[in-house]
């Protein structure tokens, strides 16, 4: 394995991280929006969101990606591998994020909401000042967990030709007939990325537990 090969795997790491970040950044607010639709019990939409979340949570990323990549051009929407990949990641992660946000909203103390209403806060202000800061705190461990799940699902993007860490490693292994060294480089790249998120999640949980004990 030459230096160029290692550089190629690092190139893959940039793709993995960039696509994951895009998926996370778009998926977070969409998940929150979907959760709000269910929380507010908007007549038809809430049912549709519930169905969407249930189906998406059960769908493997590979299958979803193949569906988008092959079926969208069929109905006249041209997609590149990268845009299909981003769309699949967003659909997948927003469904999981919706569940995390929703359980935080469901456990939100009603009396605070009513107190905010009684001092005359409007709905937007109520949400921004009272609800959002608190549900963010409650949802954070679950959301970080979902981020690490998302990164671990990104090798699926290779089925439509996106060259991420795993794909780059497989390709080099096939060229050099020595598959193990590039795989080890791939592990050395994934482990720190995911471990940072797993540690972050543990740290947040421990801090929140300590805060609860102190209170």
């Amino acid at each position: 394995m030459s230096g160029g090969d290692i550089a190629a795997i690092f190139q893959g790491a940039i793709v993995t991280v960039t696509l994951s970040l895009i998926g996370i950044l778009i998926g977070l607010p969409i998940g929150l929006g979907l959760a709000l639709l269910r929380w507010a019990n908007v007549p038809v939409l809430a049912r549709i969101v519930a169905l969407y979340v249930s189906v998406s949570r059960a769908t493997p990323l590979v299958t979803l990606l193949l569906l988008l990549f092959f079926a969208l051009p069929n109905i006249g929407v041209p997609v590149s591998p990268t845009s299909a990949a981003v769309l699949a990641l967003v659909m997948n992660t927003s469904a999981f994020n919706c569940e995390v946000w929703r359980s935080a909203l469901a456990n939100f103390p009603k009396d605070q909401y009513e107190a905010a209403q009684s001092v005359g806060m409007r709905a937007g202000l109520r949400f921004r000042r009272i609800v959002l800061p608190q549900i963010v705190r409650v949802s954070l461990p679950g959301l970080v967990n979902e981020m690490s799940m998302l990164i671990k699902a990104t090798p699926a993007l290779a089925v439509v030709g996106v060259v991420d860490i795993t794909r780059a490693a497989v390709r080099i292994g096939a060229q050099t007939y020595k598959p193990l060294p590039p795989f080890l480089v791939a592990i050395a790249l994934y482990v720190p990325i995911v471990f940072v998120l797993v540690s972050l999640q543990r740290w947040i949980e421990r801090r929140q537990l300590a805060a609860k004990v102190a209170a």
Binding site: A58, T59, L66, F70, P155, P179, F195
Partner: protein, 218 residues
Amino acid sequence: MIHDFGIVWSERALLLSGFANTAILSALSAVVALLLGCILTPALMSKHQAVSGAARVFVDGMRCVPFLLLAYIVYYGLPSLGIRFDNWTSGLAALIIYNAAYMAEILRGAWVVQPREPIEAGVAFGFSEIKLFRRIILPPLLLSAGPVLGNQMIQIVKDSAFLTIIAIPELTHAASSIQSRHYVPFAAFITAVFLYWGLCLVIEAGVSSVGRVAEARR
């Protein structure tokens, strides 16, 4: 569009065998991974630093690596060390090893919040360590961790779709081959999506009935 689903219907034998393979792969690896997890959990909780440290490295390692990479290592990487499996064995082994770590971590999480009293009562009654774990600690663990274990089983079903890449004829693989044979991408993959959904609904129903048993025993 209706015509496309007609084509998928005419290939139902292929799709159903893929579905059966997905179900078998998932069920088999869920059961074995759970059993291995039950062995791994006491190791994680062990008082011996060496044992708990080794178990921790394994579990955290698996939690930081994507499943597909592990499957590739077992299928393409191990042969260069002289260990060669066919794609079925590799896929199954990868699913089991990977998920055993998650099962162990889930059970450990449930163990930490278990009440201490029954365990101490068991110790006072002179249960041996193995018997204590099997009779006193494990049953409530499995019941209280039920929903999270169910989520992990759904995760196993979804992980099994990765194995299409090492050419195991599971559900996604079947849908892919129907799509490439007849060019009916939407009908083929949406059918696969709904079959996955059905499988997950069955798992969720199973978990909630376990939950009812747990509730009744309390």
